[in-house]
């Protein structure tokens, strides 16, 4: 059988690893797909290419398909999420200058304390704090706002969040254009190397299980090409499983560095996969548990409750009707296609497609088709619980 050509857009970040592994280790080919990965210069460009059918699939920030389906940000287009490509993986850093001022308040960097770190950031600053994120509709921005506003009263009015392309984050921090940033790897580690920035918190300390990148596809295209969607889900599921085996990590770094897709050296890729971070030049590396997950804890499952959480944030930002936004968002996360793709190959499926977000303090066994599924932990740093069944907060 001749393989069917499909094109998938991506941005060169470590978390596009499942796509590269699916191609390089021929998981895609085994599913009858001739997968071409198309590098994009920006999230805007990637979004336009997907909306205009120049690419079939896209590696997207998890809020992007929801925002597009809700008509936010210029390009209204019904985009579905077939699966989650990576869970967690963002990192927060501060400039050398802000780090010094924070230490003067008596704070020490444990790389794990959201509340004390937020308090030190505000105690050390008088004016507005400028924070860089990679895109306006990003989990980075959602996590930052959730964290700072819940940790310190009135924080919303003291921060200014701006978009800076990740490769320029290091320069923006060293030139004083930014006080802080939240970015995906390798750009956090690059900021440490190139501009003396200090990493203060992995995103997983704000929310222990946040959907970071997803596999996006046009809603109509998915309806016309169900077999291709399912084949792609299976190929990436296998790649994600492979990537999450610790013994494969060194080989994964080699493959990612050698493939022409990332154009990054080994040492830039290693921290995200190993979870070992140098938070400041000259310091010994810190180990972060679950910095980024590809497979474990049903990481690839498109939880509709997470879509609802994203919808609530977007409703708040843009004054939308929260109930309608949730409805649109839930419909974007295609757990139905995901189940149809993976049930035949014997993958363990959760009993429900929604869960109470933030309720699991420890890894917890849940009802699943094979009875082997362990989820969590998935707590928010402040113990908040997001119940998908409860009515959304009023507009």
């Amino acid at each position: 059988m001749k393989a069917t050509q499909v094109r998938c857009g991506y941005l060169p970040l470590v978390d596009c690893a499942p796509l590269i592994i699916a191609k390089e280790l021929k998981f895609a080919e085994q599913e009858g797909l001739d997968l071409t990965l198309v590098k994009q210069p920006s999230w805007s460009a990637l979004r336009d290419m997907l909306a205009f059918g120049q690419i079939d699939f896209a590696h997207m920030l998890s809020p992007m398909p929801v925002a597009m389906s809700l008509g936010l940000g210029g390009m209204t287009s019904a985009i579905d999420v077939l699966m989650v490509l990576s869970v967690n993986g963002t990192i927060v850093g501060v400039s050398d200058d802000l780090d010094r001022r924070m230490q003067e308040t008596g704070w020490t960097n444990t790389f794990s304390n959201p509340v004390e770190t937020a308090e030190a950031i505000f105690a050390a600053s008088t004016g507005k704090i400028r924070i860089g994120v990679p895109f306006v509709f990003s989990m980075h921005r959602m996590l930052l706002e959730t964290w700072l506003s819940k940790a310190v009263a009135g924080a919303e009015d003291r921060i200014e969040i701006v978009t800076v392309p990740p490769p320029k984050m290091a320069d923006a921090v060293s030139s004083g254009a930014l006080d802080m940033f939240c970015v995906g790897e390798p750009w956090g580690s690059v900021a440490v190397q190139q501009s003396g920035a200090t990493l203060v918190l992995p995103g997983s300390k704000i929310w222990q299980f946040s959907p970071e990148k997803v596999l996006g596809v046009g809603h109509n295209w998915a309806a016309e090409h169900p077999k291709l969607c399912q084949a792609m889900i299976r190929a990436i599921y296998k790649a994600a499983f492979w990537l999450d085996q610790p013994e494969n990590s060194p080989l994964a770094v080699e493959i990612l560095a050698r493939s022409q897709h990332l154009d990054l050296p080994d040492h830039a890729i290693d921290p995200a996969l190993s979870g070992q971070f140098v938070t400041k030049l000259g310091h010994t590396p810190e180990q972060v548990a679950r910095f980024m997950a590809f497979h474990s804890g049903a990481a690839t499952f498109p939880w509709r409750s997470q879509a609802s959480w994203i919808a609530d944030v977007l409703s708040r930002w843009h004054g939308l009707d929260p109930a309608l936004s949730r409805q649109t968002a839930r419909a974007c996360f295609r757990s139905d296609i995901y189940r149809a793709a993976l049930t035949p190959i014997g993958a363990d499926m959760p009993g429900a497609s929604e869960k109470v977000e933030g309720a699991m303090e420890v890894p917890t066994a849940v009802a699943s088709t094979l009875g082997e599924m362990i989820l969590g932990p998935d707590r928010f740093f402040n113990g908040a619980v997001f119940d998908f069944g409860a009515p959304p907060p009023p507009k």
């Binding site: 205009f52 936010l72 210029g74 490769p167």
Partner: protein, 194 residues
């Protein structure tokens, strides 16, 4: 016809920026500003209050521009031209030319259209010139590499230039590779052995 639009062009390549300005000025739009540094983008949008922003589709600073369009208290909101997808032809033409446009003050479509048509035409021309230039440069560098490989063969095997080229070509054909690839491999190997 009203042509008093304020146009902001975001383009790092000076030569390309001049081309676009010239085209717009020829078309009768005189209020055209170019910025090259991304850091200036936010200020330029605030200070100059442009009606239209033209930016290369592939420019990574587009994400920054989109964010400016969505912050709640912005006076000026740049909105991607694709918002109005009624003119599918124009949108497709812009994409194939590698151009993205942002409309700032809810400008009427009949006033945007001629600006875009002019910019699209010029973007196409620049892209064509660039690809021709790249092809010419590539051909020249390929030829230099093949000449070096021929020189190595001539000295090592004491053969004529024609024989050297035929040998390269035959090797390439036998191995299913390009002549330039065989020549490059030979030159690299020779450098390593020196």
């Amino acid at each position: 016809m009203q042509k008093d639009l304020t146009i902001l062009v975001v383009e790092r390549d000076q030569a390309k920026a001049h081309e676009i300005i010239d085209a717009l000025k020829d078309g009768g739009w005189n209020d055209v500003t170019v910025i090259s540094a991304p850091a200036a983008l936010e200020r330029a949008v605030k200070d100059q209050d442009p009606d239209i922003i033209l930016i290369d589709l592939a420019n990574p600073d587009r994400d920054t521009l989109e964010h400016l369009g969505l912050v709640a208290n912005a006076r000026n909101r740049p909105v991607a031209m694709f918002v109005d997808q009624t003119d599918e032809m124009m949108t497709q033409a812009a994409i194939s030319a590698g151009l993205s446009a942002y409309v700032v003050n809810g400008l009427q479509k009949d006033r945007i259209k001629p600006v875009l048509e002019t910019a699209i035409a010029r973007f196409h021309m620049i892209a064509k010139m660039q690809s021709e230039l790249d092809a010419a440069k590539q051909a020249l560098s390929d030829r230099k590499m093949i000449d070096r490989a021929k020189g190595l063969l001539i000295r090592a095997r004491n053969i004529s230039e024609d024989e050297a080229y035929n040998l390269l070509r035959k090797t390439a054909m036998d191995q299913g590779r390009k002549v330039i690839d065989v020549a490059t491999a030979l030159v690299t190997a020779a450098e390593l052995l020196q």
